[in-house]
Symmetry: C2
Subunit: 432 residues, 2 copies
């Protein structure tokens, strides 16, 4: 396929950047429909009553660490503060323990959610017209949306049936070189990908890292779902496997703690492909860009995250144990319901069984277009997410994404039954 | 002067975008120096003990307004939320009462501080290579920094001795037209400007609005200091005077409440130069850009601002009464100290007496360069801000900015005496 080029003027006209608005709109029109559209963490595990005391405990800690009264600490932290953040130590510790990221506090930039980290890194790396962003196809629209808004060219890396991901990458690099283009970054969600739910295997990660290092392509490893593994062995994060200084690990507390805290992070490598000064320069460029977008991440929010990380002793593993059990059961109920609902159609419909995360995908023998979406919502009271909204090209028209994270099991059972009823009806009566 | 053109690659090399780092660095090297460098609100008026109860009261309000339990409200608001924000009604009310901005809730976008509002509006308006950003000279580096990072050309509007601001604008527009360029926005701080402390007079605002409307240039009215008037009559905001649909009013709670809450806003006009659809399209473009930078403004922070606005009955006038008295006294002490310290040098040194805000400026008969800064810090224990860091051109080398907002009066007296001692010494011994 031909890589697309979009400039700032096309923002708002592109299909993929209007998805969020579209989603809101259809959800508003059908407030009673069971929605598998949005990948939100389960609200039932939020503990808002604990937050004000937790935040207070951070001020006490900060006061002690800085030899000041608690009142002085509260006043100080209510001011403007360091652009790179005040809980870098706490975040570095958590990333080391929970994701094996070999980072130190000074290599962390605290951001307004992971989205800001991603945006800043993409803008800092793809800073000239010939420097393109590589992504998988389909991929999370947060990444392609940043690029579209800034006029950065987005190129999908798509293995053919015979290719591994690193081979497809090598092919993309050569094709781009012939156009005078050079990929600056490769955006990936290696664990329980949004939208597909898939995991990149260890050997594929290692080959990919070697290939990226050869071409000096920085891997942007987005890792919102890595802590939510239901079964099987953990695959080391790409930052952990990296031997070249080619990975920026993007983190968020939206899924482990709660989204409205809006705290995320970028963890930079010690060297950028062996060059320590270049790593510092890249990080400083990101910090400078942040100073002109959000000045610094709310210390009101950072204090809360810092306190919770301290409370849990650095790792969030205990904190996510109950949610993991809930998400696993939801996944199981979704798979059972798909199996029951598509009985007799196994040769025409397929789905994956992700080993973690918030999403699975279902492939249908027909195109799931806006009409299909509307019929599902209007006649069957169910909303799913067409995969084509995450596609870089015109593809993925026969697949939908099912987010099973923020629904009760019985609602999932009912919702999947409704979706299957629609699809079975459509397969039986293809002309309607 | 020749307007400068900068592209994304020059970020980090330009003098004006490295100011923030420079400031931090010199302040770190001289932690004991009295600093007039940074325009922070006075911490003594922060009331952190009131914030947790205030936030709780917002959840109670939200629960009642939405017919849900308080616990359900807390859980709901801890999720992802509307990109444009959840306290638009409260902010619109405050802007109407306190700044005469004729806005409604649906025309507000809640942002991560005013900096994000400014960045989103500049990026949305200056969205093609020929669309430049107009600014005054000198001006706040937050605005020029956004433009520099995005490769947007920044052009200063500088009245000659015989020109009014609108005449200088007309001249700039013609000069740019000859280069095939068209100004998309004019960034201004009409009240108690950062860095100069000056106010644009009502008649100048009106002429400027007419001139901008004629050329379809959107005024970005940044208004962080408007509530801090010490004396004299309030000048209506440009948004209040606007009859053409040409003003976006940028607001912040960093100065009225506290900076770490990181909540600001953009208030859009009802029509964009008479076109209601264009105003909606511009606002939606800003919301979409926000969804790809910060997703939404922390509802944890919005709840707190919303609660405080409700607590004060919509207006923050009562809340800022005590700070205004403090800032006025600080300004008076600064002026007294300058008068005393430069006695006998009145013909060689001059300063303004701003009627409000956080800043005044002092013009010296010599160039205040990095050496001067270093000598002031090292030998005299005082830090001031060279005005040339806010300059668009190579000018303003003989002027410094004095921020008097976050120091106690006796510290201001001592600090200004130190600064005057340095300058008097330099005037007496020009060769050193």
């Amino acid at each position: 396929m031909t890589p697309k080029s979009m400039n700032a003027d096309t923002v708002g006209r592109s299909a993929r950047s209007s998805v969020m608005n579209f989603l809101n709109e259809i959800a508003q029109r059908h407030p009673g429909a069971i929605s598998f559209a949005s990948g939100r963490p389960a609200e039932r595990f939020f503990r808002p009553e604990a937050w004000a005391p937790a935040e207070a405990s951070f001020y006490a800690h900060y006061a002690q660490a800085n030899g000041m009264s608690e009142s002085a600490a509260r006043h100080r932290l209510a001011q403007y503060g360091a652009t790179a953040g005040i809980i870098r130590e706490e975040i570095a510790t958590q990333l080391r323990i929970d994701h094996g990221v070999p980072c130190t506090a000074e290599r962390i930039v605290v951001t307004v959610g992971c989205q800001e980290a991603m945006a800043l890194c993409i803008l800092a790396l793809c800073n000239a017209r010939d420097r393109v962003l590589l992504v998988r196809n389909p991929t999370y629209i947060g990444a392609t949306g940043v690029a579209d808004a800034a006029g950065i060219r987005v190129v999908p890396v798509e293995p053919t049936a015979d290719e591994s991901l690193d081979q497809a990458l090598a092919r993309s690099v050569s094709e781009l070189a012939r156009e005078g283009l050079s990929p600056a970054a490769f955006y990936l969600i290696p664990d329980f990908d949004n939208p597909t739910g898939e995991v990149i295997a260890r050997e594929d990660r290692e080959r990919l890292l070697a290939q990226c290092a050869q071409h000096r392509i920085v891997v942007l490893e987005d890792n919102p779902y890595g802590m939510f593994r239901f079964e099987g062995e953990t695959v080391p994060s790409m930052a952990q496997l990296d031997r070249h200084g080619g990975v920026i690990h993007l983190g968020t507390f939206s899924k482990t703690l709660f989204p409205s805290v809006r705290v995320g992070s970028a963890a930079f490598p010690e060297t950028l492909f062996g060059d320590a000064d270049a790593a510092v320069a890249l990080r400083e460029n990101v910090v400078e860009r942040k100073s002109f977008l959000t000045v610094n991440t709310s210390q009101h929010c950072q204090a809360l995250v810092g306190a919770l990380l301290r409370h849990y002793g650095g790792s969030l593993a205990d904190h996510v144990r109950a949610p993991i059990g809930f998400y696993r059961r939801n996944r199981d109920v979704a798979i059972e319901s798909l199996t029951a609902g598509f009985r007799g159609f196994e040769d025409r419909v397929s789905w994956n069984q992700p080993a973690g995360g918030f999403f699975l995908s279902v492939r249908l023998p027909f195109e799931f277009d806006d009409n299909a979406l509307d019929t599902c919502a209007t006649r069957h009271g169910v909303l799913v997410m067409p995969m084509r909204y995450f596609a870089i090209d015109d593809g993925w028209r026969d697949t939908v994404r099912i987010a099973f994270s923020n629904l009760e099991p019985e609602t999932i059972r009912e919702g999947i039954a409704r979706f299957c009823a629609y699809a079975v009806d459509r397969m039986r009566n293809p002309s309607t």
